[in-house]
Symmetry: C2
């Protein structure tokens, strides 16, 4: 099976040596059961993770016991990078479905920066893109209605699943509970339910046990009024590599 490297090669194609090294990282994969933690907030940071299969979530604990899911990770995503700058993890990584991950120790990252600058830079750009995604999400959550948030999330999800080859004809698995969806979008489960139901009634989507089908794409996009434009930067590498003038 082809490892899901689409997030890595998005910015720069891997050389033979780089591909070799990347494949080497995948040797010891680990299986995590749905709902189990991969790394808890506050634990020492020993490295990062690569999600080979399944869905995972990054979440933060609030003092009152609730938590906020900050990001849903799909196969091919790198997990835990933000905490690399901290002594103890600032986020909890958790398997949202049964998942398989492999680990990537601190030292390997240092080595990559020293020996494979092209790869380091691809990774760097990939994490910057994550930062953009985070900024966009912050802008929904802060300033839009429940319906917009939900539809924007579904559109984004579909987009990313498609990039990972996990959605066909607007149809994809949707294995998370409404409770988790509430923690992700910052609203109560009851209101998630109301909103989901009324979205269903618009006819734009249809839900079946653990799956979602998008029926009316344009309609969805109209509902997600604040869905951000996509300035995908597949040329980013070239811009940084060449000596373009400022």
């Amino acid at each position: 099976m082809q490892p899901p490297f689409h997030r890595l090669v998005e910015f720069v194609p891997l050389s033979a040596e780089e591909a070799e090294m990347a494949r080497g990282w995948l040797v010891d994969s680990r299986r995590i059961a749905r709902g189990k933690p991969i790394r808890q907030e506050g634990e020492p940071v020993k490295g990062v993770f690569f999600l080979l299969d399944g869905w995972a979530g990054s979440s933060l604990l609030l003092r009152d016991g609730r938590r906020q899911i900050v990001k849903v990770h799909l196969p091919g995503d790198m997990l835990g990078f933000p905490s690399l700058a901290l002594s103890h993890a600032g986020e909890t990584l958790e398997a949202l479905t049964d998942a398989t991950i492999c680990s990537f120790p601190n030292a390997a990252i240092g080595r990559m920066f020293r020996e494979l600058p092209r790869l380091a830079m691809a990774l760097f750009l990939s994490t910057q893109k994550e930062r953009v995604a985070l900024m966009q999400k912050l802008s929904w959550v802060g300033a839009t209605s429940a319906m917009e948030r939900l539809t924007a999330f579904l559109l984004d999800l579909h987009h990313r699943l498609q990039a990972a080859g996990l959605a066909q004809a607007g149809c994809f698995d949707f294995p998370i509970t409404q409770q988790q969806l509430g923690e992700l979008l910052g609203m109560s489960t009851v209101h998630i339910n109301r909103t989901f139901k009324s979205l269903d009634e618009t006819g734009c989507i249809s839900r079946g046990r653990g799956r979602i089908e998008v029926l009316d794409f344009a309609g969805l996009q109209r509902l997600a009024a604040s869905f951000p434009p996509d300035f995908a930067g597949h040329d980013a590498w070239a811009r940084l590599d060449n000596s373009s003038r400022f």
Copy 2:
């Protein structure tokens, strides 16, 4: 005057060569008047910026014309990194006060990755730390009350101003309007005003034209129930550099 490099040397001390190069970047600084854009959303990405003096903001436009301020930048911050992965800027950079910045073209970043891996890594870690900050902010906005958001913002701001040497004895400049504060915290100006007033009445802080003084630190922290722990990782560099085992 000493350039504000505290955000750069936080993770790794600069070698002579690196310090030399860093100083070279600062040659042509530009002055931006309060309220003026540094770079607008949608413009081509020619590089990043270094904020030498003043406050700046990163914001996203929503389709309905409102905007969400995603981050307030203080002297020493690097601006525009997230958009590096995009062809066109995904964020608007704007001077919140009169500010002075200098530019840092794409090519210089590429060169840095190839020639100064230590510096590249320090920068990388710094942007990961920003990502943590973004995640934390997302968790406030999504799941906490107006009072918590406001106090958490003030605490974080004070913390960062202190790191930049811009706050003494809990006293610091506060040059942004309540309108901007609302766009930052995702609430209406009226509610900002209400909340600010009632925070004032608790006696934890006192406001005077354009300045804020924190009177009761512990009280503030109690109000900001969700203020996250600080897992500052000044040892991050060492962890990545040495061959620590996973």
